[in-house]
């Protein structure tokens, strides 16, 4: 079993005990790595019903079998997995850069953090030498400062650091974990879980060899991938980058604006990928092993935010921009930089600020609660101020730091109607009122509102289906992309490379086999994708999530798109949603309640987890009988 390091590191932060266990080949083959392996380790190392901030909720960090190898985009990924403080179901967030490479070189497939440290610490992994270091002097520092400080004090520039900022320390529920300065394991509040453990950072230096099973074959495969990555399959990422989406979605009437009040943005030209690249992008860089390079580094050339240098992608640009009514790219870039600095998910922070602006405009919160701040849509200075207040839990920021769902419950009245989230996780930049395949993908995503669990906007945006219509068949489309996307996140390769696997699972299985020496057929790999999706589902079922949680935001169901144009009048009705869910559950082999059947679990080799569905289906039945 090459490619894999073959070891899992356990760190008990309560007792300071550190030990390793071997990674079993069967587990590796079934759950691959990344989020698949991570979710399985989470499930096996946790009890149900534990609060995400309880020391008993473990935080799992996993690399993939390809990490540390030259597989393009595959050499560098890592994933954090834990019970999410936003969704109270499974939380997972991946990141790229160089951190995952270094972790594999140090010789670990996964690190599991148990318990909670009494005082702030960081973990220092120097190959086999693993120790907890005092982090008192780092507490309160930004992610950037923490990264620099650790590399300085350990006197090694090539140390890779993943750290939380003040937001994670203060248990802001949308806190992320940053690495390599510009990369974030952003979603689901993994940084808050890390903060709840008093774990400030993980610093890694690895010097072990990464060996692969079939060198010659692997180089042939890599050569093919390199050629594809220079071609049209990766053009978007090599040229304008994801901000290309701005004008595409604008045209479709699918760009949520002012917290999903509208679906087009008047100042779209001023925040487009075209304008961004012309005026701001100074360089495009790449992660370790990547032959595509996509990371657009933008620099603000003048004005009050002059010199701000940050990575830019469509999603955070949308969240901090159009979703807050902000059409000033200087301020948007500053907002992204601040999010990274404080360590909050730059998507969710835009979701929360947009939500607060919506409440302000509807009189649900007032100036007096905001120490005089005029929080109207489009006020970019107020937007930046709110990023700070939420990240540091200042004033009303303390309530908003709970995420839109919990904050809306606290604020009360009609506030929940303005909370645009799914399973407690803030929405991302696709207006699913007029993208019905995507709406299903978002509704069933096991980590809450997210485009990256399914990519089901693909057929909608490309016009392969009637995007305004809910109909049978969409369940199959969503299942297929979900299975593929979980494999992408488990191997881990980059989502942006998905177009370069011309033969899908066949290409990915070939890479897996060449690296690990474990023969894997495309069919087996697809099965593993299905298995991992069921695993995410099972974790959520264990934690009490049901069909009711597979839904879309209130606004998506109750406020039709008002903008003139093709998408006008679109929304997702309860009827649409039920039809889509029924179709999807059927394709998945799940019950009407969205619970995997015993037959399905046996079919995909998950006999050992049947107990989870049995507990859920048999207990209520027993109870009902007793009551009779």
């Amino acid at each position: 079993m090459l490619g894999y390091a073959g070891r899992i590191l356990h760190v008990d932060l309560s007792s300071g005990k550190i030990w390793t266990e071997p990674l079993k080949e069967e587990l590796a083959k079934k759950y691959i790595g990344g989020i698949g392996l991570g979710m399985r380790l989470l499930l096996d190392n946790s009890k149900s019903g534990v609060d995400p901030f309880d020391p008993e909720n473990p935080l799992v960090l996993a690399t993939g079998p390809l990490s540390g190898s030259m597989v393009p985009t595959g050499g560098n990924g890592h994933a954090f997995v834990s019970k999410s403080p936003e969704s109270f179901g499974v939380g997972e967030a991946k990141s790229h850069g160089h951190f995952g490479t270094e972790m594999k070189r140090a010789g670990y497939d996964a690190i599991i953090f148990h318990g909670k440290s009494e005082k702030p610490v960081y973990l220092w992994v120097d190959d086999d030498a693993v120790q907890l270091m005092d982090a008192k002097h780092l507490w309160g520092k930004s992610t950037f400062e923490t990264d620099d400080a650790i590399r300085n004090e350990l006197k090694d520039f090539y140390i890779r650091v993943a750290s939380i900022g003040p937001a994670g320390e203060k248990l802001v529920r949308i806190a992320c974990i940053m690495n390599d300065r510009s990369r974030a394991a952003g979603r689901c509040g993994m940084g808050a879980v890390m903060g709840s453990k008093n774990l400030k950072a993980i610093a890694i230096r690895g010097s072990k060899d990464v060996k692969v099973a079939n060198q010659e074959r692997l180089l042939e495969l890599i050569k093919i991938q390199h050629e594809r990555m220079k071609g049209p399959a990766a053009r978007k990422y090599r040229t304008l980058g994801t901000p290309e989406n701005v004008l595409v979605l604008q045209k479709l009437g699918a760009m949520p604006t002012n917290n999903f009040t509208r679906a087009t943005f008047d100042a779209a030209d001023k925040i487009s990928g075209e304008y961004l690249n012309e005026r701001f992008v100074a360089k495009i860089i790449g992660c370790s092993s990547c032959a595509m390079r996509c990371e657009h580094v933008a620099v603000v050339p003048e004005g009050p935010y002059k010199g701000t240098t940050t990575r830019i992608e469509y999603e955070p640009l949308w969240a901090i921009g159009p979703n807050c009514g902000v059409g000033n790219l200087d301020a948007i870039l500053k907002g992204m930089d601040l999010s990274n600095y404080y360590g909050v998910d730059a998507i969710s922070i835009g979701g929360i600020v947009g939500f607060a602006m919506d409440l302000y405009e509807h009189g649900l919160i007032g100036k007096e609660e905001l120490s005089g701040l005029e929080l109207n849509f489009g006020n970019h200075e107020a937007m930046l101020e709110m990023i700070k207040r939420i990240s540091l839990r200042e004033g009303l920021g303390d309530v908003l730091a709970e995420g839109v769902k919990l904050a809306a419950e606290k604020i009360g009245k009609t506030a929940p109607n303005y909370a645009v989230h799914i399973k407690g996780v803030e929405m991302t930049g696709y207006d699913i009122r007029g993208l019905k395949t995507a709406a299903l993908g978002y509704a069933v995503s096991f980590r809450g509102a997210d485009h990256n669990r399914h990519g089901a906007y693909g057929p909608d945006v490309a016009g392969k289906v009637n995007r305004f219509k809910a109909e049978k068949g969409r369940g199959k489309l969503v299942k297929e992309t979900e299975d593929l996307y979980t494999i992408i996140d488990s191997l881990i390769v980059c989502k942006f490379s998905r177009g370069t696997y011309f033969e899908g699972y066949k290409d990915l299985a070939a890479l897996y086999s060449a690296v690990t020496g474990i023969e894997m057929t495309p069919e087996e790999l697809q099965k593993a994708g299905e298995r991992i999706n069921n695993l995410g589902r099972l974790f959520n079922i264990r934690e009490g999530l049901t069909r009711k949680d597979d839904t879309v935001p209130w606004k998506v169901m109750n406020v039709p798109i008002p903008d003139e144009g093709v998408a006008k009048g679109s929304f997702v009705s309860q009827e649409d949603l039920d039809l889509l869910l029924d179709d999807y559950y059927e394709v998945r082999g799940w019950t009407k309640d969205g619970v995997p059947t015993v037959e399905k679990l046996n079919e995909i080799g998950m006999e050992d987890l049947v107990y989870i569905v049995k507990e859920k289906t048999e207990k209520p039945r027993k109870k009902a009988k007793e009551e009779e």
Binding site: K283, G286, C290, R293
Partner: protein
């Protein structure tokens, strides 16, 4: 003291990195360690990537200095420079890993093999450097110093005369 070759140095070709094109992906490190050591390992690569800041990326390997400070610094005469190619050759029987050469190199182009405890320096893959071949951005080039300076002159001339060339409708 080892002989200091000079006569052929104008013809020597070296691996040079254009920092404007380098993305910091480290593919050069991966392919180098695989070619030379059959493993992926940054430490065992003869070329190393340095990202000082997102905007500052460069890969660095032996620059074929002459006279070569590493050769001069070696107290055991383990290093010699090829007259034909400029490559620094290592006599493993003589090298004891003392690392004086590492200190002498201004570019950090010499590394100590973590297991063998002998130094390792780029040997240009016998005139066909794999890092240059595999660099997806064509940021690496295998060139003589004369061609390097030529390239720089072309770049600067383009920059200086960009406007007048455009005005005259000349495409370069």
């Amino acid at each position: 003291m080892a002989a200091v070759p000079k006569a052929e140095s104008a013809k020597w070709k070296m691996v040079s990195c254009d920092p404007d094109k380098c993305t910091g992906c480290a593919i050069c490190e991966y392919i180098c360690s695989l070619t030379k050591e059959n493993v992926f390992s940054a430490q065992k690569s003869r070329i190393r990537t340095m990202r000082l800041h997102p905007l500052i990326n460069i890969s660095i390997t032996c620059r074929l200095c002459t006279p070569a400070p590493c050769v001069t610094a070696c107290p055991r005469e383990a290093l010699t420079q090829s007259e034909q190619t400029g490559v620094i050759m290592i006599d493993d029987d003589k090298c004891d890993g003392c690392s004086w050469c590492i200190e002498a190199c201004d570019y950090g182009a010499i590394t100590l093999h973590p297991e063998l405890k002998k130094v390792r320096i780029c040997d240009l893959c016998d005139g066909d450097p794999k890092c240059v071949k595999w660099c997806p951005e064509e940021a690496l080039d295998f060139v003589t110093k004369d061609i390097l300076s030529q390239k720089a002159r072309i770049a600067v001339a383009k920059k200086l005369f960009k406007e007048s060339m455009e005005a005259a409708g000349i495409k370069v």
